[in-house]
């Protein structure tokens, strides 16, 4: 499982017009789409805006030339969290309706209401649209670019430096863990090996966790010392090169933001 960490960014290294787009623009468009779908007041109009925004997402995904299976796999990974909340809504009343019509009765007096199902499906639309834009962003933008984009957009350097180091050290620790695991395998240890006493296995796993703790602490100390040696202080931060936006990117950004805002207003104002 930990090996998959190295491939989490595999798709972000692709080549397409969407991949090449400045990360700031992708970040802001994703944010705008999420704000639009979340801010639209509760009504069945959410379906319409949802369809419009999902079409925009589908267009951008097609332009990224990533296979649809990548999107579906990632969606399937996140969906359970939302599905639980959404599914639960079908069985309870909510403050948006006064009258509830029962469409099904289950044992133990549990009832499914037509209005609750509607509430749940509107929630699902909001959820899927938001998640889709996040998946688009993360599948076409490298982590490092995302941090730089946030820095260029004015995220304080305390955050960008910390985030940058976090990304770097996730990989360092994944590697450390991998090596420890290999060393244990070499000496025939398998935590699931039933021929070894349960307590013994538990102890060894505990020692491993402890070792990783000590080593990460020591690594932190070493890194901090070397940072101080290179003049780290209160004014330090992540080096972010200035990167002006190209005309095409600005035009694309203005058009897409305009489209999102306009379609939200049109959907909201229509009778």
């Amino acid at each position: 499982m930990i090996d998959d960490l190295y491939f989490i960014e595999k798709y972000a290294y692709g080549e397409s017009i969407v991949h090449r787009l400045d990360a700031r623009i992708k970040l802001l468009i994703a944010l705008a789409a999420i704000v639009a779908i979340v801010a639209l007041p509760y009504s069945t109009k959410v379906y319409e805006l949802g369809a419009v925004l999902f079409a925009l997402f589908a267009l951008l995904w097609a332009a990224s030339r990533l296979p649809p299976t990548v999107y579906l796999r990632r969606l399937a990974l996140i969906l359970p969290f939302g599905i639980f909340l959404v599914g639960f809504q079908a069985f309870v009343k909510n403050p948006y309706y006064d009258v509830f019509h029962t469409i099904a009765t289950l044992p133990f007096g549990i009832e499914v209401y037509a209005e609750s199902v509607e509430f749940a499906s509107i929630l699902l639309v909001k959820f899927v649209v938001s998640i889709s834009f996040i998946i688009l962003l993360s599948s076409t933008t490298k982590m490092q670019d995302m941090i730089e984009a946030a820095g260029r957009l004015g995220l304080p350097r305390e955050f960008t430096l910390t985030l940058g180091m976090m990304v770097r050290y996730i990989f360092v620790f994944a590697e450390m863990f991998g090596r420890i695991r290999t060393a244990m395998e070499t000496r025939c240890f398998d935590p699931l090996d039933r021929t070894l006493p349960y307590r013994y296995r538990l102890h060894q796993v505990g020692y491993t966790v402890g070792t990783i703790f000590i080593r990460s602490y020591e690594q932190g100390e070493r890194t901090y010392t070397s940072m101080l040696c290179r003049g780290h202080g209160a004014n330090a931060g992540l080096y972010i090169r200035r990167k002006p936006l190209r005309h095409g990117e600005i035009a694309f950004f203005a058009a897409t933001i305009g489209f999102i805002v306009l379609s939200t207003i049109v959907v909201y104002l229509q009778p």
Partner: protein, 277 residues
């Protein structure tokens, strides 16, 4: 039947990284084998195939003539012990003694046998004084010895050492060389190691494999490999100082015998001087 053999071993890491291509490697009983090559040549990847940590993308690894399978994996790991470069990856028990006992315990040996093997390993590496010590209070050299003891306690027939001299002080290196050289004769073990300390190769090995870009580009006895300076230069390696110096002297007309180890070189120089008088 060879003790350990790879046939056309190829390994491709995920992301299409070709780490090994068509490697044919053979190790016999009681042999001392050095694997040399630049960083990223595939030495560690090759070693990880010897005990089934990595599985070949194609080709095969034969241990005593048999391929590694799920059923014999435990036997294979008992037979081939690998000491990794960084001892910190290997030592995680609270004390030195417990760490050395880790392997034998996993093999399902009874308490008495485990205790006996721990004593043997502690004694063999001169670690008796440190048995109760906490690993993170050990020096680099001590950690290395604990790591080796942890593997030897499993009584392998083949000992694989990945960069055993990295980070050791000169005396530590000398001790290690002397210790490793005892293993084939006294215990009938085969030692396979990788190193960038080329001057040690002649002291520690009878046979050399040279690796570059995931391939074995040359192999042979110490004499055969160190007689090809152009090959070593091409693979970012170099001829060690002793044979290099002797070769220069020979090229300048000095009558001196070729030698690769310190002792042999000393004798060659003394002989050459004696002849002059």
């Amino acid at each position: 039947m060879h003790l350990l053999e790879t046939r056309d071993l190829t390994h491709i890491y995920r992301g299409n990284v070709h780490a090994l291509s068509g490697v044919n490697f053979v190790a016999e009983r009681k042999s001392r084998i050095a694997v040399i090559g630049p960083n990223g040549a595939g030495k560690s990847t090759l070693f990880k195939h010897f005990n089934g940590i990595l599985k070949p993308t194609s080709g095969e690894v034969l241990i005593r003539g048999e391929p590694i399978t799920k059923e014999n994996l435990r036997e294979v790991r008992k037979f081939v012990g690998i000491v990794f470069q960084n001892p910190d990856d290997q030592i995680f028990s609270p004390t030195v003694e417990q760490d050395i006992a880790f392997g034998p315990t996993n093999l399902g040996l009874d308490e008495e046998t485990v205790a006996h093997r721990v004593e043997e390993a502690l004694h063999l590496l001169g670690l008796e004084e440190l048995r109760g010590r906490v690993p993170h209070h050990l020096s680099g050299g001590e950690k290395k010895r604990v790591a080796i003891a942890g593997i030897l306690a499993m009584e392998p027939q083949v000992l694989v050492l990945d960069e055993p001299t990295a980070g050791l002080d000169p005396l530590g290196v000398a001790d290690l060389v002397a210790f490793v050289n005892r293993l084939p004769d006294e215990y009938g073990m085969t030692v396979i190691f990788s190193t960038h300390h080329l001057d040690l190769v002649a002291e520690m090995a009878d046979y050399i494999y040279v690796m570059d870009h995931g391939r074995i580009v040359a192999s042979g006895t110490v004499e055969e490999v160190f007689d090809r300076p152009e090959l070593l230069a091409r693979t970012r390696l170099d001829v060690p100082p002793i044979p290099k110096l002797i070769r220069s002297l020979q090229e300048n007309g000095v009558a001196i015998d070729t030698a690769y180890t310190y002792e042999r070189a000393k004798k060659a120089f003394l002989d050459a001087y004696t002849r002059r008088e």
